[in-house]
């Protein structure tokens, strides 16, 4: 699952998957602007079949936050 998150992040921001870690976010990924951030969440929602609330969406600052959010939606990302 962890790899799935990373590979979606890689796809949305057009960067190599190997360059992504939990601390990846708007500060170190240049194409992670507010619009692409929304596209990322939209992609995650359809992939994991979840719906994030507005506050969840607003609070996502990096990949680790995304994983936390998915955990809260009972998506087991450690498998």
């Amino acid at each position: 699952m962890t790899n799935q998150v990373n590979s979606i992040v890689a796809k949305v921001f057009s960067i190599p998957e190997s360059s992504i870690n939990d601390q990846s976010g708007p500060e170190n990924i240049e194409s992670w602007d507010s619009f692409n951030g929304l596209v990322l969440l939209d992609e995650l929602e359809s992939h994991f079949n979840v719906k994030f609330s507005i506050s969840e969406i607003s609070n996502v600052k990096n990949v680790s936050d995304i994983k936390e959010c998915l955990k809260n939606h009972d998506v087991n990302i450690d498998e």
């Binding site: 796809k11 949305v12 507010s34 619009f35 596209v39 990322l40 939209d42 507005i54």
Partner: protein, 581 residues
């Protein structure tokens, strides 16, 4: 099903387009966040080998871009400008609180809004002659008075309806202005899908990500015909496509047409096809069947909607479907890229899509109840304007089939041409003819010396320029009217006339009409006292038929140009009558 927005965004970064592509410049002006639309349009254009470039105005900057005549919008000079405005921003306080104002206030407000938008459009048109498409986005509307909404005098809904209907009427008066029906889009996909409150609150996104690709399809409906990309001919199978069952096995009385649920689906499909035929779409048959059995159904079955006269070609035999499709393309004289292929058989679908990728092969399912909506959802038949020729096209091609029969029965070409009794009326461009003249320059590929493409406003300019002659030809013969099917544009300089454009619709090629038009130019030039006429052949992938035209008519090549010296005798074909209006 459409792909995700992220797929479009990543695909838009790796677009490869061949050199012989068509170019289009698009501007998107929007009152709300519409990021991602640009990428969708770019990818969808590339799929049609269109080189797409764009100007995207900043968020809610449409007024500034249009009002400032030095704006980046006008500098970019787009072929089409999409102006996408949401009703919330237009109505302001009236959006939520319409009933806190009096009826008169509501009326005054909407009239003011209408004037504002009309002024904006007029300002745009003063700065650009190119196309403007307006879409009024109005999802998420609701009335506080519920079921009484439609009883209230000039209520909330009336405000919106009045605003849009005024815009629609305004667009009817002007060729370059189009009104995109967003309501129809919402009706098709549903407000709860298209409008996502979360995305709206987060970023003023008023068309949800998942539906931007669908919205892009709607806009492609304007881009395609601007570039002359549209399908003109539907090729149909018979068994299980136009009727249920197999006539060769089930017999005349055993096929399903009308009566049963399935039978009704086929009748509805045929009615939809007939309505397209009435709009000028050509129909043809490509079917594996015994000809006599199949044609009997077409001629005599009481529930058939489409009859013999509606089809431009019948390929009913046991030959390969691809071979038959080629024959149709040749008989109707229409490019494979103008053809849509409907056949229920998956193997036939695959055969055609492998052999002719340029044909639009419809992945028809086994269930005939789906046929109508599949046909209705195609946006490939759009034209920006209908000329008389367009409406009559289906009929003209059926007449063409009769002409070919005559040609087969008369062995000598000269005798055939004499029997056709051709009359040509050569007409100077005027307001009524300009749309058709432009259309012919945009669409004619085969018999076209220079393949110069002219939008209407460009033809308008040329025709009012005393240095240019813009003429077209209406061709009539014993089988009927072929309509305006030839165009020539001459640039008149002091000592020489230069043929800027010379084209002929492919369906009337080879009947001496091209000879008659050329000799008319030469006669006019001689009468005007110039010494020579210059022509040019600019080769394209498709204009081989016009390649030797100038040399065969006494033009001599000098460098890039072909020159005709006017002290030669001018030959005109004898079998046809020419009249200059």
């Amino acid at each position: 099903m459409e792909q995700k927005i992220s797929d479009y965004i990543s695909a838009s970064k790796n677009i490869k387009i061949s050199d012989n592509s068509k170019n289009v410049k698009i501007a998107i002006l929007s009152s709300f966040t519409i990021n991602g639309l640009d990428e969708c349009l770019k990818v969808k254009s590339a799929e049609l080998n269109i080189r797409y470039s764009s100007f995207i105005a900043g968020y809610d900057q449409y007024n500034q871009e249009i009002l400032d005549s030095n704006s980046s919008l006008y500098k970019f000079n787009p072929d089409i400008t999409f102006l996408i405005i949401d009703i919330r921003k237009i109505l302001g306080n009236f959006f939520h609180f319409a009933y806190s104002f009096s009826e008169q206030n509501r009326k005054d407000a909407i009239n003011e809004k209408i004037n504002q938008i009309k002024n904006l459009i007029t300002t745009f048109q003063n700065n650009s002659e190119k196309k403007l498409v307006i879409s009024i986005v109005n999802p998420g509307t609701s009335s506080p008075i519920g079921i009484l909404e439609n009883k209230s005098k000039f209520g909330f809904n009336d405000m919106i309806n009045k605003f849009t209907s005024e815009l629609i009427n305004f667009s009817k008066e002007q060729n370059s202005l189009f009104f995109h029906d967003f309501d129809l889009f919402i009706r098709k996909y549903g407000e709860r899908n298209v409008f996502d409150y979360r995305q709206f609150f987060i970023g003023d996104i008023q068309i949800a990500f998942d539906f931007l690709p669908y919205f892009a399809n709607e806009l492609m409906s304007y881009i395609k015909p601007t570039l002359g990309i549209n399908r003109k001919c539907i090729v149909l199978d018979l068994d299980n496509t136009l009727w249920g069952g197999v006539v060769g096995e089930d017999g005349f009385d055993g096929i399903e047409l009308g009566q049963t649920a399935n039978g009704k689906a086929f009748v509805e499909f045929q009615k939809q096809l007939l309505s397209l035929w009435q709009q000028g779409i050509i129909l043809a048959i490509n079917s594996k069947n015994n000809f006599d059995e199949a044609i009997k159904v077409i001629k005599e079955h009481p529930e058939m909607i489409l009859r013999e006269k509606h089809f431009a070609s019948f390929q009913i035999n046991w030959d390969d479907k691809a071979e038959n499709l080629n024959r149709i393309s040749e008989e109707v004289n229409i490019g494979l890229n103008s053809i849509v292929f409907f056949d229920d058989d998956k193997i036939n679908q695959e055969r055609i899509s492998n052999e002719f990728p340029e044909v639009l092969t419809i992945p028809l399912p086994n269930d005939p109840s789906q046929y109508v909506s599949i046909l209705n959802n195609l946006n490939d038949f759009n034209v920006l304007q209908k000329t008389d020729e367009d409406f009559k096209r289906g009929q003209m091609y059926a007449e063409q089939r009769e002409r070919k029969k005559l040609k087969k029965s008369v062995s000598n070409l000269d005798d055939f041409l004499k029997q056709l009794d051709i009359k040509i009326k050569i007409k100077k461009a005027n307001q009524f003819l300009i749309p058709r003249i432009s259309q012919l320059t945009l669409k004619t590929n085969q018999f076209n010396l220079t393949t110069k493409r002219y939008q209407e406003n460009e033809i308008q300019k040329l025709s009012s320029d005393s240095k240019f002659d813009v003429y077209c030809a209406q061709v009539h013969d014993k089988f009927g009217d072929n309509g305006i099917t030839g165009v020539y544009i001459v640039n008149k300089t002091e000592h020489s006339w230069i043929i800027d454009t010379f084209l002929l619709s492919c369906r009337i090629m080879g009947r001496g009409i091209e000879d008659a038009l050329l000799s008319q130019i030469l006669i006019d030039a001689k009468n005007a006292g110039v010494q020579q006429v210059e022509g040019e052949f600019i080769p394209t992938q498709k204009n081989e038929p016009a390649k030797n035209f100038l040399s065969e008519h006494g033009f001599k090549k000098e460098n890039k140009y072909w020159i005709y010296t006017l002290n030669n005798e001018i030959r005109s074909p004898k079998h046809l009558k020419v009249e200059v209006e």
